[in-house]
Symmetry: C2
Subunit: 161 residues, 2 copies
């Protein structure tokens, strides 16, 4: 199988780095098809948005569904630099996606925020892991954790630069 | 405190009943402020939408945030006829909402779908409860389960009519 693929995670990291220029969380996500073609890619834009659901994962899932004119995306994979929260993981399940590939773990973001307190970039977490959501969902989609984890952890620092 | 309020849940039930005329899940959600004024109300439109995230709860949260021009909705309450899934519960947490009020439990929908199998209205569930998501979130928002539960369970039947 094509996925998980480090080159696609590198694309996410690249676009995440651009977030900090816009004073956003340094996070990125993309949707690729089963052959690895990128359908849509997005860095975080949460800070300047009124939409509390505008995590990059939700933005790319909605965009891909719109582009493919389908509520279900079984041949698509979600790549994201940080373990998706229960909202984003659930969205991938509702879309019956092929799978989720993520870089840094939730704990990595929690650790970072402890060491780098900020009123704006709080890195709030809902402490329920993606694998727990997936194990209790239908269909049980594929999960590939920790792909280029160190590079994705290093990204967090960009939020402060 | 004004919430939870049965009159508001009745409004949700009323609009949910209108869903079936449009061949949709008979579900409804609204956002009200702390004095009970309805900011936005919506029945399910999932079946005719390409957006896998378009649960009525997500639709009203996004709409309220847009209307109030704020990513955070601390004085707002989400009412929904069915226990919100992890996606919708998490969205309310990210929005720092005042609380969530729901009618039927997840188990009620699972029981109904067992007795009424359908290829279109599958009532898929992610079996993680709203209270578990909330207990692990920040802030820990208020949750009022089972308000007009029987009336909300009776709604499910409308999906088949």
């Amino acid at each position: 199988m094509f996925h998980p693929n480090e080159e696609l995670m590198k694309k996410c990291i690249e676009i995440a780095k651009s977030s900090h220029e816009k004073n956003q969380y340094a996070l990125g996500a993309l949707i690729a098809d089963e052959r690895g073609n990128i359908i849509t890619i997005k860095s975080s834009n949460l800070i300047s948005s009124y939409d509390p659901t505008a995590h990059p994962e939700i933005v790319v899932i909605r965009k891909a569904a719109e582009m493919l004119k389908s509520r279900y995306l079984p041949s698509c994979y979600l790549y994201t630099t940080l373990e998706p929260c229960p909202m984003c993981t659930s969205a991938a399940i509702w879309a019956k996606m092929g799978g989720i590939v993520f870089g840094a773990y939730q704990e990595d973001a929690i650790e970072f925020s402890k060491n780098n307190p900020s009123d704006i970039f709080t890195w709030r977490q809902i402490k329920v892991h993606a694998n727990e959501i997936i194990a209790n969902g239908s269909p049980v989609i594929n999960l590939f954790p920790g792909v280029l984890r160190d590079e994705c952890i290093n990204l967090f620092q960009h939020t402060l630069d």
